[in-house]
């Protein structure tokens, strides 16, 4: 097991370099550069422009610039954000918490709704629960986040005036858990609707498949209660594809809840990424990319361990 884990970690290292290299080169290929953005509306003399080109190594080939960045990154220096003159590490570390809070809560809410509803709809196909499940899956899969966000703001914030639509806290008042919770409701609702649809589909399909298995029939014929059959036998065996889906969503939510964070002015990594791209702030783009890549790789390794914990056959294979 330890050997397997070590092998996965070693394999993750070149993957990490590959991801960061591709992102660095692609972001450098985008038209314009950090100096054009810094210059604003043309208030930079040509001499100052050329000095900045040298300062940011823009006279060097992109590959050289990538290795310069990598060298600093590996040495623990994430660099200074050209857009704000602040440490990239600091900027990311203060934002990652709010992103994790938003994405973690959204996943939790989605799992809490999707698992029982998915099991119910698989257990009783074509029932009310199943139809409800289909509607939620349809909405989650087909309604864009942006539209759903605006719809929620219009309904809950503008018309009903029961929920705030912006930021993490109400400005000008002491920050409380209640205030935070009220600000979380709408973005969490939007994100979790999308996730719930996805998880429902997976749970229903996986449980339905397991319920048709012979060992379930055997379990029922032994007189085990239906609840026990569902939870202990069916759900547990259906968990691997469900866990895989959840795991795949973790990095997506950390880096990918961009639209939701933007619409709700949620100060997380997604909105920081947009800011970094707009400003062509390569250090910041790379810092965020590196964090997301690391999360993806760690989650993948962690999921392998979870599979082993869930499925004795995998565990035996590893041993």
């Amino acid at each position: 097991m330890t050997r397997y884990l070590l092998k996965r970690v070693l394999l993750a290292i070149p993957i990490f370099f590959g991801i960061t290299a591709v992102v660095y080169i692609m972001s450098s290929l985008a038209p314009g550069n950090v100096i054009n953005i810094m210059a604003g509306e043309g208030n930079l003399t040509r001499e100052a422009y050329e000095a900045l080109v040298l300062e940011y190594h823009l006279d060097q080939p992109v590959v050289v610039r990538y290795f310069l960045w990598l060298k600093s990154f590996v040495a623990g220096d994430w660099g200074i954000a050209s857009s704000t003159s602040q440490s990239v590490y600091t900027m990311i570390s203060v934002r990652i918490g709010s992103t994790l809070l938003l994405s973690g809560t959204s996943i939790l809410v989605a799992v809490l709704f999707a698992l029982p509803l998915g099991v119910l709809s698989a257990w009783r196909p074509y029932s009310v629960w199943d139809h409800l499940s289909s509607v939620i899956t349809f909405i989650g899969a087909s309604v864009p986040n942006f539209f759903l966000s605006l719809l929620c703001i219009w309904l809950f914030a503008v018309q009903l005036r029961i929920l705030p639509s912006q930021g993490m806290y109400t400005p000008g008042v002491p920050q409380t858990l209640g205030d935070l919770a009220s600000h979380m409701v709408l973005p969490v609702l939007v994100l979790s609707v999308q996730l719930t649809g996805n998880y429902l589909k997976q749970t229903r399909g996986a449980v339905l498949e397991v319920l048709g298995s012979e060992y379930i029939r055997t379990a029922r014929s032994k007189g085990i209660t239906e609840k026990r059959v569902l939870v202990r036998h069916a759900l547990r065996n259906a968990l691997i594809p469900i866990v895989t889906t959840i795991a795949l969503n973790v990095p997506f939510l950390i880096g990918g809840a961009v639209v939701t964070e933007q619409v709700f002015s949620w100060p997380g990594l997604g909105s920081l990424m947009i800011f970094a791209i707009e400003k062509r702030d390569y250090n910041l783009i790379m810092g965020i990319t590196a964090v997301i890549a690391l999360v993806v790789l760690i989650v993948n390794i962690f999921m392998d361990l979870v599979y082993a914990a869930l499925d004795p056959r995998i565990r035996r294979g590893l041993q």
Binding site: M38, E41, I80, Q86, V94, Q166, G172, S182
Partner: protein, 537 residues
């Protein structure tokens, strides 16, 4: 399961009510939404209006520039140009104080200007390049020797600036003085300039502006400032101003729900009309601005079409009336020259005789044919943002260009990338891009001119513009007015611009702020007079 769900819902409702109840007692607090981030709290980067907005709150500037271009005192109560036209003497307000209570002196101003001129500062903060106009600096704005920048303090309340060339005082005050701010020398003079970006001072800066720094949220998206009670002007009565980033897509809802009291940028007029039908609109003031807000122009960006005949052919090919009509409403109207919108007592001589619509397809064809005869292939790559008004406009412009014989290729791209690309002066990507920007009430400060001195969105270089500017700066009275007139005619003749006065923008703010339309318009001049904001509580 039912019990669990009920409990969860009840808990969420409780938290919501608790949160909402707490949000109500913020009477003296004004929340201002900015759609984009400011860079940082260092006053030496005014790359965007958002950065300038924040800087203008915390730090003091020499003058205030009103939306109509009127210059009024701020830290400087009077200003005078020397006989040789190179030295400006500012009389400073003796009542000005830093937020720690220390009086502001001319020495503080000199210290601040010298700090900005130090080597290395410019690689972090781009405003340094603006010092290049001052004596004692090199072409990048860096001091040529220790403290050589020509800023002096003859006495505690007098600041002098000496320029390399004759300076146009009006132009300098309106458009170029915004980057000069005063910092407290007594708090900073022992700091290491090489580490300026990491000074602790920027985490809680002490300025002498109308607002005192209170807090910056850890994520940098929310700045809280308090009114500076000792600020020397205005009768403001607000207590706290919170500047927070607000998504542009959520400006309307944030205003309607009262989560923000005012926003920048303004909302579109159509959006404002829709807002007025929604709950919460009764608390808001809607002001459709009458002044010029933005102009649209084709930024010629390729030396392939540097030939003035091609630029003129583009200009003659475009029917401004069709463009205005195509943009669907009464809020857009063509104008001949932007300065015509600033016909005030100050600049009554600016050209009124430039035609509003230069549409002349026959002339365009003639010019284009002549250029083609000399080797131009007629191809014109026109860039525009992916969606929105400019994308629509690009279709019409493209068609009009094709009508006179251009072979047009339309490229749509996101607006930020297009602007960055145009600014990068990369020859060969686009021949032109449809850009939009506000314009200052100063004929000498124009983003639409082809300059050799600075990097702008226009890649062509034309020394004539700078020659005109130098001559205008050196002239006075009627001679100056005549030169400006000639200069503006030259610009109009040479550029492929579509000047449209767009009255499409609506400033929306909470009624309790009174009428702050002029304040909000002032942001385009990189300042905001929050010292005049009087809340009705």
């Amino acid at each position: 399961m039912k019990k669990l769900l009920s409990l969860l819902l009840a808990f969420a409702l409780l938290l919501t009510v608790a949160g909402t109840a707490l949000a109500e007692d913020v009477n003296g607090t004004v929340v201002f939404g900015l759609i984009s981030s400011w860079d940082n709290l260092v006053p030496f980067t005014n790359s965007s209006y958002y950065s300038s907005f924040v800087i203008s709150l915390l730090y003091d500037r020499l003058v205030y520039v009103s939306p109509d271009g009127t210059v009024s005192p701020r830290a400087a109560t009077a200003w005078e140009l020397s006989e040789d036209g190179k030295t400006v003497t500012f009389t400073l307000n003796p009542d000005a104080k830093f937020h720690d209570g220390t009086p502001v002196t001319a020495e503080d101003w000199v210290y601040s200007i010298r700090l900005l001129s130090k080597s290395g500062v410019g690689t972090l903060f781009t405003d340094q390049s603006l010092l290049a106009a001052l004596e004692g600096t090199d072409e990048a704005g860096i001091e040529v020797s220790e403290n050589s920048v020509a800023a002096a303090a003859p006495d505690a309340n007098t600041l002098t600036l000496t320029f390399k060339q004759n300076v146009n005082l009006d132009s300098f005050l309106k458009s170029q003085s915004y980057y000069l701010v005063v910092l407290p020398a007594h708090l900073l003079e022992n700091e290491n300039v090489d580490e300026i970006a990491t000074w602790d001072f920027w985490n809680a800066p002490v300025g002498s502006g109308p607002a005192v720094f209170s807090a910056l949220s850890a994520d940098g998206t929310e700045l809280t400032v308090n009114r500076f009670a000792d600020y020397y002007q205005g009768d403001a009565n607000w207590d706290t101003l919170i500047v927070r980033q607000t998504a542009s897509s959520a400006l309307s809802s944030a205003l309607l729900t009262g989560e923000v009291d005012a926003v920048y940028t303004p909302v579109g007029n159509d959006e404002a009309i829709a807002m007025q039908t929604l709950p919460g609109a009764e608390n808001l003031t809607f002001t459709l601005t009458d002044d010029l807000v933005y102009v649209y122009t084709i930024a010629i960006n390729n030396t392939i079409v540097a030939d003035e005949r091609i630029r003129q052919a583009v200009s003659y090919a475009i029917d401004r009336d069709i463009i205005a009509a195509f943009l669907t409403d009464d809020y857009v109207s063509p104008i001949g020259e932007p300065m015509q919108l600033y016909l005030t007592a100050d600049n009554a001589s600016y050209p009124a005789d430039i035609p509003v619509n230069k549409y002349d397809p026959e002339k365009a064809k003639e010019l284009l044919e002549a250029a083609k005869a000399d080797g131009y292939d007629g191809k014109f790559v026109l860039a525009a943002p992916v969606a929105g008004q400019r994308a629509d406009m690009a279709l019409v412009v493209g068609q009009l260009l094709q009508n006179v014989g251009f072979e047009v290729e339309l490229v749509t791209i996101d607006a930020a990338t297009m602007m960055a690309d145009l600014r990068a002066a990369q020859d060969g990507i686009y021949d032109g891009g449809i850009i939009v920007y506000g314009i200052a009430a100063d004929p000498l400060v124009r983003n639409d001119i082809y300059t050799t001195a600075s990097v702008t969105v226009l890649a062509l270089k034309d020394q004539t513009y700078e020659d005109y500017q130098a001559k205008i700066a050196a002239a006075t009275g009627d001679d100056r007015a005549a030169l400006i007139d000639e200069y503006l005619h030259y610009i109009s003749d040479q550029e492929a611009a579509i000047w449209l006065a767009a009255k499409r923008q609506c400033y929306v703010f909470n009624n309790r702020l009174g009428d702050i339309t002029d304040s909000l318009l002032g942001i385009a001049n990189r300042n905001i007079d929050v010292w005049n904001w009087v809340l009705s509580r």
